[in-house]
Amino acid sequence: MQEFNPLSATVGGVLIGISATLLLLLNGRIAGISGIVGGVLTARSQDVLWRWLFLISLFLGAALYRVIAGDTELLPDRFAPILMIVGGLLVGYGTRLGGGCTSGHGVCGLGRLSARSLVATLCFVASAMVTVFLVRHVLEISL
């Protein structure tokens, strides 16, 4: 298994924090990815273009890193269509209902000292951990 790298994890996290800070400082927007994705379909028309640009650039940024860093090693994985379909639907529905995801509630909400975001973050981390525990160790299905 590929080693855990605390340096790249922390530097990557700092970059995410810098991105969120710049988006708030310059554009006045919260860098919550679920909200930005959701708004692509339902926001007022003058609010749609910046969302597309942010998301396309996020994709390109990840691609750029992978080109520069070379073939970064990934942990072994498999195609898991059922998990992607069910997981994707629940993540889309839940983030819309709860008003945010790991970036909106986690990175930005905690940064704003929002009590709502703290509660949401504790709830989704806990429910994700319970889910993984039940699926991997009780049902013994590999994710």
């Binding site: 994890a9 379909l41 940024g61 750029l64 994707g88 839940g94 008003g99 995801c101 949401a120 973050t121």
Partner: protein, 148 residues
Amino acid sequence: MTRLITAAITGMIFGIGLALSQMIDRQRVLGFLDVAGSWDPTLLFVLGGAVGVTLVAFRFVLTCSRPVLDDRFYLPTRKDIDRPLVAGAIVFGVGWGLAGYCPGPAVAGMTLGVWNPVLFVVCMVIGSWIRSRIEEHSRASTSASSTA
């Protein structure tokens, strides 16, 4: 126009951060969520690095009367902890635990050239759309009943 350029630049920094920190590797995220397995602390360091920046920098940013390129900050105004917040977070967590993807890493993960993140993102958009339709519908029926 300038706001579009800054949206693109910040999006790119976000994507580089997600790829560098290996959050686009769903098995690594699942390793963090699997507290009973061989626990992987990567996500904790990523969140720590990110929140470390926002905790300090947002204090300064939010003392400004408005953002540099717009008239106002677009911030959530609600303060109460209500059922939809908790229920939504729990539902999101179940999906996150099943797939190992949350929204940002899934979008960035589409660079991997495998089908998992692509399928996930399509279904995530559908899930979000379903919820927004339900909210629209309930708003419409509330206003209809109040006018009746």
